[in-house]
C-alpha cells in the first residue's frame, strides 16, 4: 500500500493524522491524490466514494508526469473529521495510489478553477456583461454580434460570484474545470 505520506500536520506518533476528536461538524477538505496513470484508476477512486457513500464536491484529473505516468487527482470533499480520515486512509490503500495529501490540513495552499461562460444578449446587457468581465479580469475567448464566451480563472468563490452576476445578463451555459490545488512554498 502506498503508505500514506502526509507532509505536515501529521501526528508525530503515527504514520498519519489522527484527529483528536470525533467532531460532528462537517468540514470541506481538498485532497491531492497522486496515482499511476493506468486504465481504471479513476474508476477506482470514484468507486470508493460512491461505494462508501462519501461526497465529491469537485474532481479534476490529468497526467502531470508523462514519463513517470503519474496523474494528479484533486478532490474536494465534505464530511465529519472521522469521515475525512477514512477517505484518506481508504484512498491510501488503493494499489495504484502513491500519495495522498490533505491540502486543507497540511498548511497553506492555493486553489484555482477555470470557468467558461457563454453570455448572449444585446444592447445594455451586453455592455454590462463586458464591463463586469473587465472587473473580474475575465478574457473574451469567443464573440459574435449577440454573444460572448468569457474565460475566468480564480478561486471557486470567484467563479461562483461571476456566474451569479452573469445570470441576469443572459448567461446561457457554464463549463467549470473543478479545483486544481497546490501547497504554497518551496516543497
Amino acid at each position: 500500500m502506498a503508505a500514506l505520506k502526509i507532509k505536515k500536520g501529521a501526528s508525530s506518533h503515527s504514520a498519519y493524522n489522527l484527529r483528536p476528536t470525533f467532531s460532528d461538524v462537517e468540514e470541506v477538505h481538498t485532497l491531492a491524490v497522486l496515482v499511476t496513470n493506468e486504465p481504471g484508476v479513476l474508476a477506482r477512486v470514484i468507486g470508493l466514494f460512491s461505494g462508501r457513500g462519501y461526497n465529491i464536491e469537485s474532481l479534476t484529473v490529468a497526467e502531470v508526469d508523462h514519463t513517470g505516468h503519474t496523474s494528479r487527482i484533486t478532490i474536494v470533499t465534505k464530511g465529519k473529521p472521522q469521515i475525512i480520515e477514512q477517505i484518506k486512509t481508504q484512498l491510501g490503500r488503493i494499489v495504484p495510489v502513491h500519495e495522498v495529501h490533505d491540502l486543507t490540513v497540511e498548511g497553506p495552499s492555493v486553489e484555482r478553477e477555470l470557468g467558461l461562460f457563454k453570455v448572449a444578449g444585446e444592447g445594455d446587457k451586453r455592455v454590462e456583461a463586458m464591463r463586469l468581465a473587465d472587473i473580474f479580469r475575465a478574457n473574451v475567448v469567443d464573440t459574435t454580434l449577440e454573444s460572448f464566451v468569457f474565460e475566468l480563472t480564480g478561486a471557486p468563490e470567484k467563479i461562483d460570484a461571476f456566474a451569479d452576476l452573469m445570470r441576469p445578463l443572459g448567461l446561457v451555459e457554464v463549463a467549470r474545470t473543478g479545483v486544481a490545488a497546490l501547497a504554497r512554498g518551496a516543497h
Binding site: 502506498a2 506518533h13 489522527l18 499511476t36 472521522q82 486512509t89 481508504q90 490503500r93 494499489v95
Partner: protein
C-alpha cells in the same frame, strides 16, 4: 529457460514460479489455451469444480488452511460473474487468492461478444486490485504482481482478466525476481512510541483484555506463537472474533471464549467492563461491538492493524498502531521485557476472579434429553470424538456456524475456515474441498446446515471425482435456523419462508453421487454414527436430524450493548426494541 512463449504458457509458468501446486477451475471458450497448457504438464494439479463459486471458495479454504495464496481459474462472462461472491467473501475476510479469468479477444472487447462481461469493472469493488492483461509481453509481470498484492499487507483477492488473444500471442516471460513490486510495500513495523505507550498502559491496567482477530492468523504462525507468549507471560485474559479462533488455544488458561453477538457471556462482559482493550488484528465489526455508543465505555483502547483504514473506522481508539501483527507483537514483548515485565498483578488477579464469576453462569449449558438430538449435543460429541485427529473444520453460515464456534475447540491457527464478514451460505462445502486438497491425510469436516449446504451441493461431484474424503456434517433442522430465530424474536413469530420443504433424502443423494450417506436421528446412535463417518475412507454426507426450533444463545440483541445479553429462551420476551430490528 526460453524467455519467448505464449501467454497461455506464461500463465502456467508464472503459477509454477509462485509455488502453486493446485488450481481450482472450470474451463470455457475464453480459457481454452490455458487449459491446453495445463493438459501438457504435471506440476500443477487442476481440480475441476462444478460451479465457479465453488472454485473460489475452495481456493479460499486452501489459502486459509495453508497460509499460501489460493488460485482459481474461470472463463469469461458467466465464469467470471459466478466468481464474484467468492471474491467478495475473500475481500471481507482478507483471504489471499488470485482468480484468473478468460476474456474475449481484445479486438472484440466492448462489442457485446459471446460470453463477454466487463469483468474488471464488475470485480473492481470486490477485489483488492485487478488487471486487464492486454499485452502478452507484460502478462507475466502482471501475474507476479497479482500474487504480491494478494499476499502483502492486508491480504485479499485479486483478479487478472486475460483476453484470449493475449493467451495465444507470444511474448517475453518476466520472472518473479525481475518483477517490480516496489510501489506496493505496506509498512510492517509499528511505531515504537505508540508501542511503548501501550506497554505503559499494560503495566498499569487493572482490567485488561486482549481482543484478537483474523489478522493474527493472516500474519502467520509466528504471530500466533508471539501472541501466546504475550498472553501467558502477562496473564491477561484473551477473547477472539470468529475469524481469529485458534490463534490462542481454546484450551489455554487465559482463554475466555469467543466474543460478539453469539459470543460467550464472560467474553462480552469482559469487553464491556475492561479498562484496557488491546485489539490485535480485529476490526470492530458490528457483530462484535453491539451498540456502539455503549461499547466498552470505560476502557482505553489500542488497535494493532496493518490496514490504516481499519483504525478509527468504527470505534475511536487511544493508541493506534499500524503494522503487521507479528512484527508489532515482537516489539511489544521486547519493550515490555526490557522494562522489567511489570503488570498490576493484584488487580489482574481480581479481574480474573470477576471473569470466573461470569464464567460460572455457564452460558453454553444446555440439556440433552429425550429422543431428539440437540444441535449443541451433536457438536459436543463431534468435538469429543474428533479432537485427537489432525482436524480441520469448515462451516456454512447460520446457527450451526455459531454453535460450531462455541462448542468446538481450536488449539492451532489455520484449522478453522468460516465465512465471517460476508456470511456466505454455500461457503463451507467447497472450502472443505480446498482444505482437503492442501491436507490430504487430515480429517476435514464441514459443519453445515441443510439449507446452506444445498447452495453448493453440486460440489459432491468434485469430492467424489478427486476422492476427497470430506465429511459433510449437516445439522438438519429443516429450517433456515438463524432466519427463523430472528423472526421469532423480532417479527412476531411470523415464519416467512424460513423452512425447507421438499428436502432431498441426503443418504440417497450421497449414494447418487457415489458417496456414503449416514442418517442419524437418535441421540443414542450419535457416537457410533460419527465414528462411522470418521473412519469411512471417502466423502460422507452425515444427515443429523436435530431439534427444529432450537435457538442460538447467548445473544446480544441488535441495538444492545455487551452487558445486555440474552442467555436463554426465558429471557427473550420483549427484549429487543423496535430500533434493533433494522440492524440485521
Amino acid at each position: 529457460m526460453a524467455r519467448q512463449m505464449t501467454g497461455a504458457k506464461m500463465v502456467v509458468q508464472a503459477l509454477k514460479d509462485q509455488g502453486v501446486d493446485t488450481v481450482f477451475g472450470y474451463p470455457g471458450g475464453a480459457v481454452l489455451p490455458i487449459y491446453d497448457e495445463i493438459f501438457q504438464q504435471n506440476d500443477i494439479k487442476h481440480i475441476l469444480v462444478r460451479h465457479e463459486q465453488g472454485a473460489v471458495h475452495a481456493a479460499e479454504g486452501y489459502a486459509r488452511s495453508t497460509g499460501k495464496v489460493g488460485v482459481a481459474l474461470v472463463t469469461s462472462g458467466p465464469g467470471a460473474t459466478n466468481a464474484v461472491t467468492g471474491l467478495t467473501d475473500a475481500l471481507l475476510d482478507s483471504i489471499p487468492i488470485v482468480v484468473l479469468s478468460g476474456q474475449v479477444p481484445t479486438f472484440m472487447i466492448g462489442s457485446d461478444a459471446f460470453q463477454e462481461a466487463d469483468t474488471v469493472g464488475i470485480t473492481r469493488p470486490c477485489t483488492k486490485h485487478n488487471w486487464l492483461a492486454k499485452e502478452t509481453d507484460t502478462l507475466a509481470e502482471t501475474l507476479h504482481q497479482a500474487f504480491h498484492v494478494a499476499r502483502s499487507g492486508r491480504p485479499g483477492p485479486v483478479l487478472v482478466d486475460i483476453p484470449k488473444d493475449t493467451q495465444f500471442a507470444s511474448g517475453t516471460y518476466t520472472t518473479r525476481q525481475e518483477t517490480k513490486t516496489s510501489h506496493y510495500e505496506p509498512q510492517l513495523k509499528g511505531d515504537i512510541t505508540e508501542i511503548t505507550a501501550l506497554v505503559e498502559l499494560m503495566e498499569q491496567a487493572e482490567r485488561p483484555v486482549f481482543y484478537t482477530g483474523g489478522g493474527v492468523i493472516n500474519s502467520g504462525p509466528a504471530a500466533s506463537q508471539l501472541l501466546r507468549e504475550l498472553v501467558d507471560t502477562t496473564g491477561f485474559p484473551i477473547t477472539s472474533t470468529l475469524m481469529g479462533l485458534g490463534a490462542y488455544p481454546g484450551s489455554g488458561k487465559n482463554w475466555i471464549g469467543m466474543l460478539g453477538m453469539h459470543g460467550l457471556y464472560e467474553a462480552n462482559m469482559a469487553m464491556h467492563d475492561c479498562d484496557l482493550m488491546i485489539n490485535i488484528g480485529a476490526r470492530f465489526d458490528d457483530r462484535i461491538t453491539g451498540l456502539i455508543s455503549a461499547f466498552s465505555p470505560n476502557s482505553k483502547k489500542a488497535h494493532i492493524d496493518i490496514d490504516p483504514s481499519s483504525i478509527n473506522k468504527v470505534i475511536r481508539v487511544d493508541i493506534p498502531i499500524v503494522g503487521d501483527v507479528g512484527h508489532v507483537l515482537e516489539d511489544i514483548l521486547k519493550v515490555w521485557k526490557s522494562r522489567g515485565r511489570k503488570t498490576n498483578k493484584e488487580a489482574v488477579a481480581k479481574w480474573q476472579a470477576q471473569i470466573d464469576q461470569w464464567r460460572a453462569i455457564k452460558c453454553l449449558d444446555f440439556k440433552q434429553e429425550g429422543k431428539t438430538i440437540k444441535p449443541q449435543h451433536a457438536l459436543v460429541r463431534l468435538e469429543e470424538l474428533t479432537k485427537k485427529y489432525d482436524r480441520y473444520i469448515t462451516t456454512e453460515v447460520g446457527q450451526h456456524q455459531m454453535w460450531a464456534a462455541q462448542y468446538l475447540t481450536f488449539d492451532d491457527p489455520n484449522r478453522w475456515m468460516t465465512s465471517g464478514g460476508l456470511g456466505t451460505m454455500g461457503y463451507g462445502f467447497p472450502a472443505s474441498i480446498g482444505v482437503q486438497l492442501a491436507h490430504p491425510d487430515a480429517l476435514v469436516i464441514n459443519v453445515a446446515g441443510e439449507a446452506s449446504w444445498l447452495m453448493n451441493m453440486q460440489e459432491m461431484g468434485t469430492a467424489v471425482q478427486f476422492r476427497l474424503p470430506v465429511k459433510q456434517f449437516i445439522l438438519n433442522n429443516e429450517r433456515l435456523g438463524m432466519v427463523r430465530q430472528w423472526q421469532e424474536l423480532l417479527h412476531g413469530e411470523r415464519y416467512s419462508h424460513s423452512w425447507s420443504e421438499a428436502l432431498p433424502d441426503f443418504v440417497k443423494l450421497a449414494e447418487a453421487f457415489g458417496a456414503k450417506g449416514i442418517l442419524c436421528s437418535d441421540p443414542d446412535d450419535l457416537d457410533d454414527a460419527i465414528m462411522e463417518m470418521i473412519t469411512h475412507d471417502g466423502p460422507v454426507i452425515f444427515d443429523c436430524l436435530v431439534e427444529k426450533h432450537e435457538n442460538c444463545f447467548p445473544m446480544i440483541p441488535s441495538g444492545k450493548p455487551h452487558n445486555e445479553m440474552l442467555l436463554g429462551e426465558a429471557e427473550t420476551q420483549g427484549v429487543i426494541q423496535s430500533g434493533g430490528a433494522v440492524l440485521v
